[in-house]
Symmetry: D2
Subunit: 93 residues, 4 copies
């Protein structure tokens, strides 16, 4: 991961928040909260996780392009294949 | 939430697992793991969270139908509106 | 489908619009339009199709609840199972 | 769009198939088909549209990397920003 320390810290802060959200959802279920209210929190956490995924992807594409520019000509098929597969998993999750 | 204790325990077990997964993702980011590997875990956790959402929805629909059957005639517009909005949030997250 | 004629007409109007959008995307591809612009239209059509799905689901839930209320007691497991499976397919598509 | 004619033809074939699927869904609605059956087709078409989006994205990334490799050093921020925004729209649709 070619992320700067600042980017990494921002990701970690988001992930810790999501971890807390998931713990909060467990508390709601345990306390017998209303289904629809639990569902609202589940959707919010899912969305937050997807945002982390999109951020990681953005950093990855930056890195790939910078690398391609430095390495010059030649095919980058493997890199694109790998990124496309990761995007497909994200879109389909 | 009209879930039985067994259903609730199953949900809690899933949520604790997801919490652990998110903590694992933070560790990967902190340790400088490869972007694409982190992304794979993010997609898996997102999918696991959606499964929790689908389970909650299933229980909610069971409960709503049972309630409607017991209460008899009359409109249930509010219930359907609420469930449809929750489904839309899940589909769009 | 227990939709009224008005609901059905609204669905048909949306579907004809989506059909036109998809035809428009094909024209863009054929004319060599810029990838990102084509992608924007693909996302818009995907979202429009999901809205049709959510509308259908809303109507279905209305119908199920009304039916359960009329039929009274008894289990509606099959109905819930079927609806939950349809929701899962929508969430996962 | 830097797609080859073969890629373009494959995309067009998929889009024409999706157009036909959407027309088929309209026919089902018009004929009063069962909600759940219509929903199954809606999910299938949504998925097919997303596949077209993923294909377009794959081609776009290929093109971007090739371009970056040829152009050499220099920042490609705009390109990444644009691609990331398109991916986000696809993930969120």
């Amino acid at each position: 991961m070619a992320a700067t320390q600042t980017e990494r810290d921002a990701l970690l802060a988001r992930l810790h928040r999501i971890e807390g959200q998931v713990r909060g959802i467990a508390r709601m279920v345990d306390g017998g909260a209303y289904c629809i209210d639990v569902l609202t929190q589940v959707s919010a956490s899912t969305r937050a996780l997807q945002s982390v995924g999109l951020l990681l992807l953005d950093e990855h594409l930056h890195h790939c392009l910078a690398e391609a520019a430095q390495a010059g000509g030649g095919v980058h098929d493997e890199k694109v294949k790998e990124a496309s597969a990761a995007i497909a998993r994200l879109v389909r999750s």
